[in-house]
Subunit: 450 residues, 2 copies
Amino acid sequence: MNDASSGPARVPSTALFTDRYELTMLDAALHDGSARRRCVFELFGRRLPGARRFGVVAGTGRLLQQLQDFHFGEDELRFLRDNKVVDAETVRFLEDYRFTGTITGYREGELYFPGSPVLTVEGSFAEAVVLETIALSVLNHDSAVANAAARMSIAAGDRPLAEMGSRRASEHGAVAAARAAYIAGFGATSNLEAGRTWGIPTMGTAAHAWTLLHDTEEEAFRAQIAALGGDTTLLVDTYDIRTGVERAIRVAGTALGGVRIDSGDLPTVAAEVRAQLDALGATTTRITVTSDLDEFAIAALAASPVDAYGVGTSVVTGSGTPTAGMVFKLVARQDAAGSWVSVAKASTDKASKGGRKAAFRTLERGVATSELIAVADGFESMPTAADHPQARALQVTLVDAGETDAAHLGPAGVTAAREHHLRVREELPVRALALSRSEPALPTRFVDVA
Amino acid sequence: MNDASSGPARVPSTALFTDRYELTMLDAALHDGSARRRCVFELFGRRLPGARRFGVVAGTGRLLQQLQDFHFGEDELRFLRDNKVVDAETVRFLEDYRFTGTITGYREGELYFPGSPVLTVEGSFAEAVVLETIALSVLNHDSAVANAAARMSIAAGDRPLAEMGSRRASEHGAVAAARAAYIAGFGATSNLEAGRTWGIPTMGTAAHAWTLLHDTEEEAFRAQIAALGGDTTLLVDTYDIRTGVERAIRVAGTALGGVRIDSGDLPTVAAEVRAQLDALGATTTRITVTSDLDEFAIAALAASPVDAYGVGTSVVTGSGTPTAGMVFKLVARQDAAGSWVSVAKASTDKASKGGRKAAFRTLERGVATSELIAVADGFESMPTAADHPQARALQVTLVDAGETDAAHLGPAGVTAAREHHLRVREELPVRALALSRSEPALPTRFVDVA
């Protein structure tokens, strides 16, 4: 055992999870003095991932944790100096770097729509510009997974849903994916690190290797029951499913906890296995299916006698859309005289909406009707919840003058995000729950306030 | 600055990047004694990612580094104990866990085909079974990125190609993606951590925020030139490209290093900008394009006056196939008497090929013709390179009785993998270089050796 040489510990700071151009801009801005200009950066999606009907914000708690570790130590500064990324003046600035600004944003687990100001970072150009990559990395990845997971969770209804896709994601990404899936309605994960770091329930019993390790399937079943008890789940499709089920009940008795099926045409196989189990008297033995499921396959199994789903690849890869595609844009800044100016890129295909935003979800009889986004140049005229009593204010303060609200951190933050997500999902109109590609379920309405 | 509380350092071991069922199986195997059986696990792809013509192995060096940190310390054991994942006997086993077996595999950067034994792990069931998730996580993620990157690198030909997709990948995944893209032919990355950890060249100058921070585009250009010199690249599409180019040359002179275009219909825009630059006398000013490129868009720009490409989302997400989908299967084990038995799952749609494998690439006049895989039950009869003088042996020893070959680690391992990849890509038949979906470019031939 050698903790000192361990892999992740080689990266004690998150500050280099950063695109080089952010430090190049910082360097140039310190030269011409523009580094001191106060700025508002906004993180938002121009569209929803995969032409879906709603987006799900995830990653906020992780990002806040990463920002606490975003500092430039001797090792980071040496790399920047040796590679001439920045000059000596910028190195001196980075030595003391600490984000002292304010971050507001949608609560983790909240739904979002095109143009929703998911995260707003306010500070000097120098302190805010360097956070672009890390903010986007965390929120784009986690929100893409959460979006897919929410759709699967809706399709699964009350049936338990477990995430088991670690093997199809990068090793750290897998932990983040397990966390995002749990926030969006999954009940458990196979990933032990997600259990340790984020307090997510973990699950799992045996793979095909367990059966193949033994001289016969029966020996494998006996050994598993002996070690894990009769409530375990036996994997019955290593050789022949019908024989496997028959053996499972012969070995375990009719009180066997469950069987798992990982191959075949699942609606057919599930019906056959249920009939076989019932005929054997194992009427309470549960059926778990785990073969290449996505939200569409889960929906197609709604009428099948399936008790639980395990989902791998499709949830950790965002079911066809592995990134939420959100961007981080400067939307307002002070000029040389200290007055606020709204700014926006004008490029034909990537235009964005300048100005500071306040976001509300309007509701009618508890059902969401629109994403209302008030836009202003300055700060004095921003509306508040009091101005929109019929609507829910969507932004909360996450970091106040450099101080993080600890309620969003750690396992407690995850639990709160999951509860929030499941609560606000109830506000969606029924049409938002359909799985097919479509327009966003709510219109985004921008309102300029003078 | 507070290194002690930094995020990644909270995970000093990689041992919990593991699916729970591996430890559950270990627990049961220690109970019935099967934990001591010697096993051969094989990591392979049933098919190529995205119906492509070849696969690229990437992640091997990262995996070997992670395996060195795969140990169960007090914190990991406490989690397993408190959550009743395993019993006291298994905790004692894990306290002393260290992989003492042998790992052979394809060299990092090597090409692979359906059924290629990309990685082979030999050891007791107990020590080998727990490596399934981490091996798959690393190789599936990195190989998916490398596969997409190789196709982009082929499409780009001699033009420089930079990876800049960190914002569209999880923060650690982004570093791994930059590394995989570099191995598969990219020349640089925007990701600073990839520069520090893996020695990959980094690049980047300015974003739209830089222009928007200033009162005019001209001021922004002047400030950038003042700070970074005239060889820098100016981003010219914040407002209007034609005006931007004109201003760029007015401010920087005709020796300006380059302009970057991040929007618009690139073939049209590139031609217009080239004509404008030439007319202004800036004949050596380079054009870099960076807007939503993938291998198809790069190929479509082959005849356009583009000097360099920057690729984001599509490379870090595997261009539509974010995981290589490889699996980790028990293919041989000893029985109670110590004799070797080939084993394989028989499930209709997921059958695999039991037995230990030796892999060769056959060549004719330097062009690869097939993936030749010899299959045997035991070890004595395995063929070696001497048995196939016309072919290239594909497997090397990565870990020998627990000792890692250090040549594969760190930046030196990355350099070696990149060189190996570019060399073996030259062996591919021309039809393998096409971008369209198709069958694998080489047939896989399994040969049973008695």
